[in-house]
């Protein structure tokens, strides 16, 4: 290679702009700014309402600093028990349903029609947020924990079968081939070559889903699907902010406790 000759004049260099055409560039910038100003103006901020809101906020905050566990303790207790019951039932049923769906949704195990069907179910379940599903179930079955259990089962199935199917699709095919070569039927193939490879993850995911369900059970209660969320909603409606505060604290403690326990259990499993 020839050596580079020293350059007499120093050459200028600037980072090239994102949009090369200067006209397009400036029109874009000015357009965006105009839109922003107009958008801010369209949000009518009513100073009077703002002030009232802040006042109310202060009252709520004051009440929250003095949580009242005592006066409605039996309601709170009943709510928690209901939530826990909902969570346990929904998680167990959810796991039982998601295992076959998860196997059906694994491309390396299921024939195409079954695969597509199971994938469609999973997508349906995952498309909607729990609260929306809860509203639908409340409309179908009326207020109460049954609607809540249905919601949680539905959400659990979407979550668990998807992750299970993905796990199954990543198993070591050599182990499957070896068991198939012994003359094993499909069911034996699944129990000997697939389950041992995915069961630790399945148990871990099940426990993880348990603590998601506990959290969700509080949320779906707010739209009328039973549990501690319903108790919380009642407290807010009665302006019992101190009771609401107590409930929130109970929920936080409960969720933290299950998270801690599930973390320990899952760590042990590995």
């Amino acid at each position: 290679m020839a050596s580079i000759a020293p350059v007499a004049t120093s050459r200028r260099w600037r980072k090239p702009p994102l949009i090369r055409n200067p006209l397009v560039r400036w029109v874009t910038v000015i357009g965006a700014l105009t839109y922003l100003v107009l958008a801010i103006q369209s949000v009518t901020v009513n100073p009077e309402r703002l002030a009232r809101g802040i006042q109310r906020g202060q009252r709520i905050l004051a009440a929250f600093l003095q949580p009242d566990f005592v006066s409605r303790w039996s309601d709170i207790q009943a709510g928690i028990l209901e939530s826990l019951t909902m969570t346990v039932i929904a998680t167990v049923i959810g796991i039982i349903i998601s295992i076959p769906i998860g196997f059906g949704a694994a491309r390396n195990l299921a024939p195409l029609p079954i695969y597509l069907f199971c994938r469609a179910l999973i997508t349906l379940s995952r498309t909607f947020q729990e609260v929306i599903i809860a509203i639908v179930f409340v409309v179908m079955f009326g207020f109460g924990p049954f609607a809540g259990v249905c919601t949680l089962v539905f959400a659990t199935v979407g979550f668990l079968s998807k992750l299970l199917a993905e796990d199954i699709e990543e198993i070591d095919p050599a182990q499957v081939e070896a068991i198939r070569a012994t003359g094993a039927s499909w069911l034996k193939l699944v129990t000997y070559a697939v389950l041992p490879q995915v069961s630790p993850r399945l148990v871990g995911l099940g426990i993880y889903r348990f603590d998601i369900n506990l959290r969700e059970s509080a949320v779906v209660g707010i739209v009328g699907a039973g549990g501690i969320g319903a108790t919380l909603q009642t407290a807010f409606n009665r302006y019992d902010y101190d009771v609401a505060s107590a409930i929130l604290i109970v929920i936080i403690v409960l969720v933290m406790a299950t998270e801690l326990i599930s973390g320990v259990v899952r760590a042990r499993l590995q």
Partner: protein, 276 residues
């Protein structure tokens, strides 16, 4: 015993892995299948138990035409064909005993297999085989706790517990050190002789094949190019199988790659690599 007639295999990707293979293996014979990688060795042995479906041709085991069997019939014939794999293919999270007993999956019913309640005769045989391969002390260990050589012994015990007539062996020593490789080859051939099994072994280590097999079949690009005794494998024959000329041409076909490698080597020699 085992008879392949006009067996061809073309993968959906268009790869013609096997072309018109004709092969007969009599009872008690140990055949080594050699050839460069991609020659179709593992496709060939997988066609025998139809882990890979042959596209054309017939395969017979004794009086059964394997290629015509239904799913159920195929499961039954697979019990008569033991298979040993390259990376052992043990179920890692199951114990040694469970892995060995899985050789009986084709015989027991679902609940027996699910509850691990195998017939006493099967358990006795499993213990006997584990003793024979020297793994009695590892019965309840998990398979992933074993060394490579030990795992392959479990694989051998699993295949033999099927009580097969035919043993298909796919690169049994590819992940083992030379000494263990010999021990494994000796074990397989001894056990096969004791039981009078026909054996087809895929192997790329030619000296090892010559040492333990009674017959060598050389495969190249999906066709049989050598079929004879181990002594008959001359340098010329090996060239036909492994193709020296091809090797040279391939190298010349990609001079850019070679230059790049040379440049990298030169650079490495010039400047010490930064420590990682």
């Amino acid at each position: 015993m085992l008879r392949l007639q006009h067996v061809s295999k073309r993968y959906p990707t268009g790869n013609q892995a096997l072309k018109e293979i004709n092969l007969t293996v009599p009872e008690g014979q140990v055949v080594a299948l050699i050839g460069p990688s991609g020659a179709g060795k593992s496709t060939l042995i997988r066609c025998v138990n139809r882990l890979v479906e042959p596209s054309e041709g017939q395969i017979w085991l004794r009086d059964t035409e394997i290629t015509r069997l239904s799913t159920r019939g195929l499961r039954h014939i697979r019990r008569r064909i033991g298979m040993i794999f390259q990376e052992y293919a043990l179920v890692e999270r199951l114990s040694v005993m469970e892995n060995v007993l899985s050789g009986r999956l084709g015989y027991v019913n679902f609940w027996q297999s699910w509850l691990r309640r195998y017939p006493q005769a099967d358990v006795d045989n499993a213990f006997q085989l584990l003793e024979r391969v020297g793994l009695l002390d590892f019965v309840d260990q998990r398979a992933d706790a074993l060394s490579g050589g030990q795992r392959q012994r479990v694989g051998i015990a699993r295949a033999l517990l099927q009580d097969p007539d035919l043993l298909l062996v796919d690169e049994p020593t590819a992940s083992l050190d030379p000494k263990t490789s010999r021990q494994i080859m000796r074990l397989i051939t001894e056990l096969a002789q004791e039981r009078g099994l026909a054996v087809v072994i895929n192997i790329h280590d030619v000296p090892l094949a010559q040492m333990y097999a009674q017959r060598i079949v050389g495969l190249r690009a999906g066709s049989v190019v050598y079929d004879g005794p181990p002594e008959g494998l001359t340098t010329a024959q090996l060239t036909t199988i492994y193709g020296e000329e091809d090797w040279d041409r391939n190298r010349q076909a990609d001079p850019a790659d070679e230059d790049a490698v040379l440049a990298m080597v030169a650079q490495d020699a010039g400047q010490p690599r930064p420590a990682l």
